[in-house]
Amino acid sequence: MMLWNLIKEDRGGQILLLLLAIAIIAVPMLNALPPDHALHIPTYTVALLGKYLTLALLALSVDLVWGYLGILTLGHGAFFALGGYVMGMYLMRQIGERGVYGHPELPDFMVFLNWDSLPWYWTGLDQFWFAAILIILVPGLLAFIFGALAFRSRVSGVYLSIITQALTFALMLAFFRNEMGFGGNNGLTDFKDILGFSLQARETKVGLFVASAVALALGYLISRAVIQSRLGKVCVAVRDAESRARFLGYRVENVKLWVFTLSAMIAGVAGALYVPQVGIINPNEFSPLNSIEIVVWVAVGGRATLYGAVAGALFINYAKTWFTTELPDVWLFALGAIFVLVTLFLPKGIAGLFRRKEASV
């Protein structure tokens, strides 16, 4: 009942959750069918869909801050990547002696950089529960510190966008450095298994897909819960008339801070689910380009609708896959055009279209 209240007036949300539920049941079944069966979904497609879902979750987190708080973050990729790195470190620790050098503890890249022991920040990450906590904590902490500084001193609008970009850029440079102990440019890869299940096994892949779907559903409901609450209203108030909200006695910076942190945590989870499915995490995930691409997913889907962000992420990423296979040279043209056209002619995004329809019906 509680849950139902969350999405009572939210058609898009209902459909989204419905589709997710279907996917969670149907995809594993279709995948289990014999390969020659017409409806069989090959495992790599499952993994692909799983990847899309994690990206959708990421888009969701961005919509939460951009759509409802008006904070255009160009650095959310950083939180995503951090979550990913934590997961990556856990997976590295799982390799154990199966590394090419057969070192019981050190990941390969540390062995051939002649490190004799694990850096302190790698300790404990062989425990999943610990990794799971850090996956939420690390991005959250960064977001909290960054937000605390930025929102206190009322950095807003474009300035905020630019320094979020600077943040992720700085992190990218930092993670490229081999001294950091995160595998430098190569990042972390060649994972073997997660929680004892081999990452190469079909079941594991399906499992990860389901996990991603569930995570997306949960992420959606949590965000929804925030939006529905009075806090959600305050967010919108802050977005539309910040100083008015202040004169009503709201500590705008705290509101921003907590929602921003929450969204960073969601992004972190998305990253953590993304890594085992693509099998590698490296500093490129921090590149400002990626972060700004996320924003366009949301813009295309439609701001401040949550389900719009999800739709946008799925749509653009599918388009990307298609283009880079069929006509690689056109991809950037297409992406660029989408940026321009959406901002000019489709400020409400795809979701906006449907809404207009609903209104007319």
């Binding site: 255009l72 500084l149 930025a150 206190r152 001193s153 009322r154 950095v155 609008g157 474009v158 300035y159 966008s161 630019i162 320094i163 970009q165 600077a166 943040l167 850029f169 700085a170 440079l173 930092a174 490229f176 450095r177 100083s243 400002p288 380009l289 700004i292 924003v295 366009v296 813009a299 040279d329 950037l332 043209f333 992406l335 660029g336 055009a337 989408i338 940026f339 321009v340 959406v342 901002t343 000019l344 400020p347």
Partner: protein, 532 residues
């Protein structure tokens, strides 16, 4: 060009004397040069040196410039200026002119470093008596390292007749290095003094060597004192150098950012395609050079206005086509212009191929301005610093003195009011954006002289540019200048101990924190307009 000159010279030199085809030396030279074996070429050079052949120096010159080719089909030696189909090749011995059909039949007679040094040595000795003092200096430097006594005696000889002080001092050093190895103590003392006064690396090395070898305590002490003196001087000049590097890096940042300071600072438009406008400027330079391959020196100058116009027009197109619909929606503008930047990049890839393009450095920009052996500044950087300042003050003038500038400031402070006063803000926006974009194009010309001209050129600078503008304070181009230079110098001062990567990271982090403290940058706009 110059090669052709030499060709002619070579011919005249030959005509009266005899037909080259039966000159034994040249005949052997040919056989040695066409051989694929390196040693043979070395032999060839030695042959020339010993034979004292009258053409020796012309041939050296041609060898150094790589004008000698041999034809794989007839194994004959040719002189070729440009090995391209349709160009003519001149047979080395019997001066036949043949037209090149398959360029790949003609193989360049290539030298390796050892051989080049070998030739330079020989030529240097004649350089001692050259007219230009520069050549003489080069010659002395060249020979300073040369152990063979003959070279030294040449220097001694030239020393007496030398009039130019700089050259004399240098020669003195060269001689002193030698004297140091003698046993006459008094002479050695003088030598040490001479060397201690000089900043020539070779002088220092000589002293170091001397200190490590000599038994004579007093001399040793003297030499050590001298060395300490030198080290201090070097430290000082190293500091100067760092500052200079910082400024030149700063000037690049300022150039990249200044266009943004106008579009972002004055108009409040977030133009993510700014980097691509710089890139377009750079490519314009490339195209201009393609159009006038024989006037590289001029081409860069021509490129400046050209780049301004091209980038300016593209900018105006962007403003008219997209941005003007988004005024007052900075975040949307940011996204749209980012889209444009992607399109522009890909467009360049499809037009010019993803490969980097070669933009040549004109001769008047290459080389160094040498104050002393340890402190010399690179000309291209110097020009860029000057250029940066010129652009900056030109802009300042435009904004402060011209009608456009007045209108721009009016619009940027209060659009509605300016409209009411009859300013056609639409037009002003267009012009301002065009101006900013044009300046970005000019920056591209400068950048084409120091870095890649490729599709990613813009990307590399966009974030830095924004940092500079925000750090300096939006709407204040003085701020941009100060910020750019500060960041440049800071970066360079940190680099030696932090390393290039860490330095960059630290600078970024610093800016992020700085914005927290002063959201409006170094030189904020104040007053009610800026409040809230």
């Amino acid at each position: 060009m110059c090669a052709l000159g030499l060709l002619v010279l070579l011919l005249c030199a030959v005509q009266p004397a005899f037909a080259k085809s039966d000159d034994p030396v040249l005949l052997e030279l040919q056989t040695l040069l066409i051989s694929s074996n390196n040693q043979d070429r070395t032999k060839a050079i030695e042959l020339l040196t010993q034979s004292q052949h009258e053409l020796a120096f012309d041939i050296y010159g041609l060898l150094l410039e790589g004008k000698f080719f041999f034809n794989r089909t007839d194994n004959q030696l040719y002189l070729v200026d440009r090995a391209e189909a349709g160009q003519s090749a001149l047979h080395f011995l019997d001066e036949r002119d043949v037209v090149i059909e398959r360029p790949r039949d003609f193989r360049r007679v290539a030298l390796n470093n050892a051989q080049r040094t070998q030739i330079r040595r020989v030529m240097a000795q004649t350089g001692l008596t050259a007219d230009s003092s520069k050549t003489r200096i080069k010659a002395v430097r060249q020979m300073m390292g040369d152990p063979d006594p003959e070279a030294l005696s040449l220097i001694r000889a030239a020393y007496t007749s030398e009039t130019n002080d700089k050259v004399r001092d240098l020669m003195a050093v060269a001689i002193a290095i030698d004297t140091l190895t003698q046993t006459d103590e008094a002479a050695q003392r003088d030598a040490i003094d001479t060397l201690a006064a000089s900043l020539e690396p070779r002088a220092r090395n000589a002293l170091n060597q001397f200190v490590s070898q000599t038994e004579n305590a007093s001399l040793k002490e003297l030499a050590e004192k001298g060395l300490i003196g030198i080290e201090q001087k070097i430290k000082f000049y190293k500091g100067l150098e760092t500052v200079y590097f910082g400024l030149s890096l700063g000037s690049v940042l300022v150039l990249a950012a200044i266009g943004l300071a106008i579009t972002f600072g004055v108009m409040g438009v977030i133009n993510m395609a700014h980097g691509e406008l710089i890139m377009i400027g750079a490519y314009t330079t490339f195209v201009i050079q393609q159009l006038m391959p024989n006037h590289i020196g001029l081409s860069v100058l021509v490129a400046i206005p050209a780049a301004f116009v091209v980038s300016g027009l593209v900018g105006i197109a962007i403003e008219r086509g997209v941005i003007r619909f988004l005024y007052g929606r900075p975040l949307e503008t940011l996204l749209a212009t980012f889209g444009i930047s992607l399109v522009l990049q890909q467009a360049v890839r499809t037009i010019f191929s993803p490969l980097n393009k070669t933009v040549e450095t004109p001769s008047w920009m290459s080389g160094m301005l040498e104050f002393n052996p340890v402190f010399a500044i690179t000309l291209n950087r110097l020009y860029i610093i000057i250029f940066c300042l010129l652009v900056f003050f030109a802009l300042l003038m435009i904004l402060k003195r011209t009608a456009l500038g007045l209108q721009v400031r009016a619009v940027s402070q209060n659009r509605a009011m300016a409209r009411a006063m009859g300013v056609r803000s639409e037009r002003v926006d267009m012009m301002t954006f065009g101006l900013g974009s044009g300046v970005a194009g000019i920056a591209g010309v400068a950048l084409s002289q120091i870095t890649n001209v490729g599709p990613n050129l813009g990307q590399a600078y966009i974030i830095d540019s924004f940092m500079v503008v925000v750090f300096g304070g939006v709407g204040n181009i003085w701020g941009t200048l100060v910020a750019g230079m500060t960041l440049g110098v800071a970066n360079k001062i940190m680099e030696p101990w932090a390393g290039a990567v860490l330095a960059k990271i630290l600078v970024l982090v610093f800016i992020i924190l700085f914005i927290q403290k002063k959201p409006r940058g170094l030189f904020p706009q104040r007053g009610r307009a800026a409040e809230g």
